[in-house]
């Protein structure tokens, strides 16, 4: 019995292969691409083999956020149409061994790929990677259907705003209808100063409303813009967002990490003046 159990343990990673995660949100501009880039880079920094796939055909962006835009030769549509082999479309990120990007096509539209074709491409990649992370386009049309078709689990990104939460709720409903069992919430651009003033929903408020487990809270941080400017994901850096993303990566791996306290950066004096601003 004991022997059998250890055998199972030994063979289970091979049987499972890679984990396919779709990063989605419904609403545009809440940080799907930033989250994909940072979680992917973070996992690669832990020594995992990671493949990022941009499924936003016609509006590709993951390549610029990753700083790999000058190295694109083939793309996802080329793979699907048989113009190249899967391997040829993968761009290796030289900064992080084990990190690859499959860019999307810029001159085509969402109908160039079908959900079935996406599943095929992903199944081909499963053998070679620990994680495959799909950057989903905004919306709930075919681009969304393509992105979720081959995924095992989802990261739902939202900001603490009414519109983004409403769209996230719709997305969660659609993911449930498509048989997703594991959906985790990333709350992006949280401003603790506004939460304290009562002018922004807290992470707990958002979790209460959406009723799925939370996997990370990313504070609103200027360094995200700087890192995007530079084409270098900030995960693991000393900035608050970099730290928060590093924690998300740990939690994606299944580790329990305490949540950061974003209050620390605020001095006593800011707090005192904050009281007067409030009044």
């Amino acid at each position: 019995m004991e022997e059998k159990r250890s055998m199972e343990k030994q063979f289970s990673p091979e049987k499972k292969g890679s984990e396919v995660i779709v990063v989605t949100s419904g609403k545009g501009g809440v940080g799907k691409t930033t989250t994909t880039a940072n979680v992917g880079t973070g996992l690669a920094k832990l020594g995992k083999k990671v493949c990022l796939i941009d499924t936003d055909i016609g509006l590709r962006n993951l390549d610029v956020v990753m700083g790999l835009e000058n190295r694109i030769v083939y793309n996802l549509v080329d793979v699907v149409e048989g113009n190249c082999r899967v391997k040829q479309a993968l761009i290796r990120d030289k900064r992080h061994p084990g990190l690859y990007l499959m860019p999307s096509a810029q001159t085509r539209d969402k109908t160039a790929v079908s959900p079935g074709q996406m599943v095929k491409v992903i199944d081909h990649l499963r053998e070679q990677f620990d994680y495959i992370i799909l950057d989903c386009p905004a919306g709930i049309e075919q681009g969304f259907q393509n992105a979720i078709a081959g995924a095992d689990r989802a990261l739902v990104v939202t900001t603490p705003e009414v519109s983004a939460i409403r769209d996230a709720d719709r997305i969660i409903g659609l993911l449930e209808a498509n048989g997703f069992k594991q959906m985790d919430l990333v709350i992006n651009r949280l401003r603790m100063d506004m939460v304290r003033r009562g002018d922004m929903m807290s992470a707990n408020d958002v979790v209460d409303i959406l009723a799925i487990p939370m996997i990370g809270v990313i504070p609103d941080d200027e360094s995200v813009v700087v890192s995007t400017n530079q084409g270098e994901p900030l995960v693991g850096s000393a900035s608050p967002a970099g730290q928060a993303y590093a924690n998300v990566v740990q939690r994606v791996e299944g580790k329990e990490v305490p949540y950061l306290n974003f209050d620390r950066g605020i001095s006593f004096w800011t707090r005192v003046t904050g009281i007067f601003h409030k009044a």
Binding site: E161, V162, I165, R166, D169, R170, I172, G173, E176, V195, R197, G198, D199, M200, M201, S202, D205, I209, A211, I212, K278, A279
Partner: protein, 92 residues
């Protein structure tokens, strides 16, 4: 000074609005459809008993059923006044 007695924080307003908004989003049910459901229920029930269809009301809220996502599963509540319980002539 007025600000100290502010009625509601914008955070609370957002939460309240979302709660109502998401119920109707999840149910995906317009007021017209609600009205149709109401008349259909009245039609079916009046086969068996005399009801006051003028004063009946139906609504969807999140109380009750705990299946689905947490306690957020919406359910339909109907309040239908019965004028006469004795069965109408169904047999006929």
């Amino acid at each position: 000074m007025r600000h100290f007695f502010r009625r509601k924080s914008s955070c609370q307003i957002a939460k309240d609005r979302l709660k109502i908004l998401l119920i109707s989003d999840r149910v995906n049910c317009s007021p017209e459809i609600m009205e149709l459901i109401k008349t259909d229920i009245a039609k079916v029930l009046s086969k068996y008993m005399k009801i006051d269809s003028e004063n009946m009301e139906i609504q969807i809220n999140t109380k009750g059923s705990k299946s689905g996502r947490g306690s957020k599963m919406p359910s339909l509540y109907a309040n239908i006044p019965i004028v006469d319980v004795t069965a109408q002539d169904v047999a006929k």
